[in-house]
Symmetry: C2
Subunit: 224 residues, 2 copies
């Protein structure tokens, strides 16, 4: 049966990936560079959040960005235009990043010069949740127009993240999105997750996101 | 290298899938049941469109629905509650449907009793575009909040579809989505695609979608 063959291959790939992800994490510990993996559906606001983050961290933390895209460089161009060290990874049809691709991304960066590298993963709520990129922190965005039922349908994504950003809260007035219901559903899957509400368009809530980020980088750099 | 191994496996799977998709299409031609594959990002409105379609076709065409979900039955329950023959396929982590999964879905349906079967694919703009389900028509939804740059980032999805529905046009007033730019980008990839604007919430444009659907089913059933 086709599906059984496919599962075997997938497990082998996942095992190799976990090993390589551990190597990425260890390597970045040595240079004290925190790696953050940002995931969401297409169009939830990953690039907009990164552009807000570039401004929010200016003068405090040294940021690099790894942009994953199937077949374009539009996002990388926007980020690089702000003077940020940006690496474009073209996945060539793959629907997620894995640790091998991230390794090639960080090979191209001088890690000693950076406090934080943000990976913009491929827009997808499924496979990116399964493939450990080697990041120290996983962050996801859910935008209000996507609906409050997404934790029921993509539970793994909500389970693997340290922080959930609810974006596009400026759409709340037009939407039947219920933030209390969403929180309940997310916390049932992942009681340790932090949830923040933001609008990358209006800037509401971005300050809390920047504060969270600075505190996490500080904790990461502290000698253990 | 990991990625080279993965590509070989993928090509083999894709080849087997194309063969099986052809068998699905042929089988449904015999019962004159049109199969339509509906794709989009998570939260773009696939289930809402299907619920509108159930009402729009009531009394004219006999509809069945195959719902694909990774790990829930919430969508299938909503559709079945309208008295529609609904099959739930749990993909168990897979980010797309393939022809083998669809075969198991149609095995569970009495095709002689249906004019049209709609597949709600997994919410994902990447892999569903690569895996032929055996459908006679591919339809995608892009919702206004996702942005008008999606054809640049997910070109294959826009290339394989017969119809693009721009949903949530009730959000246009809050958005910088440029419908003219989107049309230009989509038509550059796929000059033969039909584009319709709808709002599943307000019902605007749903009549045109139902008209398109009826005309396609009629053309499908006509003796060649």
């Amino acid at each position: 049966m086709e599906d059984i063959k496919l599962i075997e291959v997938k497990e082998e790939i996942l095992y190799d990936n976990i090993k390589q992800a551990g190597e990425v994490r260890e390597r970045l510990r040595k240079t004290k560079t925190m790696l953050l993996n940002l995931m969401s559906s297409p169009g939830s606001g990953k690039t907009s959040l990164i552009l807000q983050t570039v401004e929010g961290l200016r003068g405090s933390l040294r940021l690099g960005v790894i942009e994953a895209d199937i077949d374009s460089t539009v996002d990388a161009e926007k980020v690089a235009a702000r003077g940020i060290r940006t690496i474009q990874l073209r996945t060539g049809g793959f629907c997620h990043l894995d640790a091998a691709m991230v390794t090639r991304g960080i090979d191209a960066i001088d890690l000693d010069e950076l406090d934080l590298v943000i990976i913009e993963n491929v827009g997808n709520l499924v496979c990116p949740a399964e493939f450990d990129t080697g990041a120290h922190k996983n962050v996801m965005i859910l935008s209000v127009p996507e609906g409050d039922d997404k934790p029921l349908k993509y539970p793994l994504m909500f389970s693997v993240c340290d922080l959930l950003l609810i974006n596009k809260i400026d759409y709340l007035s037009l939407s039947d999105f219920d933030a209390a219901t969403l929180r309940k559903r997310v916390l049932a899957l992942n009681p340790r997750i932090t949830i923040l509400e933001v609008s990358c368009k209006t800037g509401v809530g971005i300050g809390s996101w920047i504060d969270w980020l600075k505190a996490e980088v500080e904790a990461f750099k502290r000698p253990k």
